[in-house]
Structures are given as C-alpha cells and as structure tokens.
C-alpha cells in the first residue's frame, strides 16, 4: 500500500491541475482560453495552476502573439507525461487493487 501512495503525485492533487494535465496529454498543445473554457475556471486560477505545473517542469509554456494579441500555449514535457501516467496508474491501483 505504501508503494502505491508514493506514486500519488501531490503536484496533481487538485481538480484544475488534473484537468490541465489530462487535456495536455491528448492534445499537442492547448492555449490559455481553451484550458479556461474546458475547465470552467477563472483566469487567476488557471494562471496559478499552470505556473505550479511549470515549476515542476511538467509543462512547457510558449508565449507568442497572434494578430497582436498575446497567446500562451501550453504543452507537456516528457517528465510531465511520465509523472502523469504513473499518477493515473497509481489511482487505478487504489481503486482496483
């Protein structure tokens, strides 16, 4: 049991972070507004959670301008994909030991 709990990653222990990672796992990238719409969260909420994931080096951020408007694109890093896969595995084991 202790082993499994080890793999439950604290960095994903929040609905919004879980959502961000899930979206980025199946999409090449997602921009700020897409995350906001899909997760139904506020600007500040998304910003702080993406920052936290970025700090763990689980996601990459790329800022650019589209029609002179700032656009922020997020995508997963290899480390992020591995960590999240482990997290899902651990969750599944906890439910179906």
């Amino acid at each position: 049991m202790k082993n499994i709990i080890q793999h439950i990653n604290k960095a994903f222990d929040h609905r919004v972070r879980l959502g961000i990672m899930s979206i980025l796992m199946v999409n090449e990238y997602a921009d700020f507004n897409m995350l906001k719409e899909l997760l139904g969260a506020t600007d500040g909420n998304i910003a702080s959670h993406t920052k936290a994931l970025e700090k763990e080096a689980y996601i990459k951020v790329k800022k650019s301008f589209i029609n002179r408007k700032p656009n922020t694109r997020y995508s997963t890093t290899t480390a992020g994909r591995e960590a999240f896969s482990k997290h899902i595995e651990a969750l599944e084991k906890l439910i179906n030991p």
Binding site: L18, S22, I23, V26, D31, M34, I88, L94
Partner: protein
C-alpha cells in the same frame, strides 16, 4: 481512505481527455437526411442515364451522338445533381450540428472542431480536384469510385476528432469505392449504397446512441 475522491479523479481525467480532443455534437439526424438526399439524387441519375441510353439504342444517329450526349449533356446534369446533393447535405449537417452544439453547451468553433474540419477537408478537397482531373482526361467511369474512396479516407481521418462510429462509415465507403473500380458503369449504384444507404444506417446508429 478517500477512495471516492480517487474514483472522481479518474472520471475527471477521462472526461477532460475526451472533451478536449473530440467533438461531440455531430448529429445523427443529419446523417439520415444526407443519405435520403443521396438516394433521391441517385434515382434521378438512374433515370437520366436510362433516358440517354434508350435514345442512343433507338436510332443510328442516336448511337453516333450517344457518347457525345452522355459526356456533355447528361454528365453536366449529373454533376449538378451531385453538387446540389453535397451542398444540401452540408447545409443540413451544419444546421443540426449547430443546434446540437447549442443544446449540449459545446462551443461550435473550438480548436477541436477546427481540427476535425481541417482533417476532413484535406482528403476531400484533394479527392475533388483529382476527380476534376479524371474528367479532364475523360476517365469518367472512375469518378464515382474515386469520390467514394476519398470520402472514406476523409471520414477515417476525421474520426480521430469525434466519437467512434464515423470510422466504420469511412472504412465501408473506402471498401466499396475500391470494389466499384471493378464495376465501371455501375457507379451510381455504388454511390447510392455508399452515400445513401450507409449514411442512413450510420445516422440511425448515431441517433440512437447519442441523440436520444
């Protein structure tokens, strides 16, 4: 232990993965209607062709200009009918999809629907242009199989961005398209099967699964 939370997490992950990568609002009803339009158009085409061949068979002059008639007069009509059917089917599809997206509270023009449309349009446009080339070189018999093949590929390509079954519609159209290459001259019957019957079956399945 907080088992329930973990279960919740898993379902949240699943919902987000599918909601962020698949467009859910394709309408089954529009599939059924598109199939019906195709059958009507195929019936028209059948009688139009029969008319021309009857005329061709009945007189020597007819025989001489039969080819000419079929390639210019009838082909023009048939192409117009095909384009009209396509336009009508697309309009119906757009109408019901917009309606369903509103009902489901899914944004119509989101990154996923854009990807869906792009992946659908590329093989379709390539196929359309290729058909024009076939007409240019007068390989008219190959036009119907080619439309089916490219339409099947377009559906298959789009299937990655929407819910499951459209893949099988694509594979079915691709297959009968290839079969149709061996039965030149029966193009409209394969059309009726692919664009008509298959669409109606697919529409009914989709409607029962997701629209009810």
């Amino acid at each position: 232990m907080k088992d329930r939370d973990y279960l919740n997490d898993i379902s949240e992950i699943k919902t987000m993965m599918s909601r962020s990568s698949r467009f859910m609002s394709l309408s089954g009803l529009s599939g059924i209607l598109a199939g019906i339009y195709a059958l009507v158009a195929a019936t028209y085409a059948h009688f139009r062709i029969a008319e021309v061949s009857a005329y061709t068979a009945n007189s020597n002059a007819g025989k001489a200009i039969g080819r000419f008639l079929l390639s210019y007069d009838a082909i023009g009509d048939l192409m117009l009918a095909a384009l009209l059917t396509l336009a009508l089917a697309l309009l119906t599809g757009a109408f019901f999809t917009i309606k369903k997206a509103k009902k489901r509270n899914e944004q119509l023009w989101n990154p996923i629907s854009k990807r869906l449309l792009f992946n659908f349009a590329v093989p379709l446009v390539a196929g359309g242009l290729f058909c024009l080339v076939l007409l240019q070189y007068e390989f008219i018999g190959l036009v119907a199989p080619t439309t089916l093949i490219f339409y099947g590929l377009a559906l298959l390509n789009a299937s990655k961005f929407t819910v499951g079954d459209i893949k099988y519609l694509g594979l079915a159209n691709l297959m009968i398209g290839l079969v149709a290459t061996q039965f030149i001259g029966f193009g409209i019957y394969f059309w009726a099967l692919g664009f008509g019957i298959f669409h109606i079956i697919y529409g009914i399945i989709l409607y029962n699964k997701y629209d009810k």
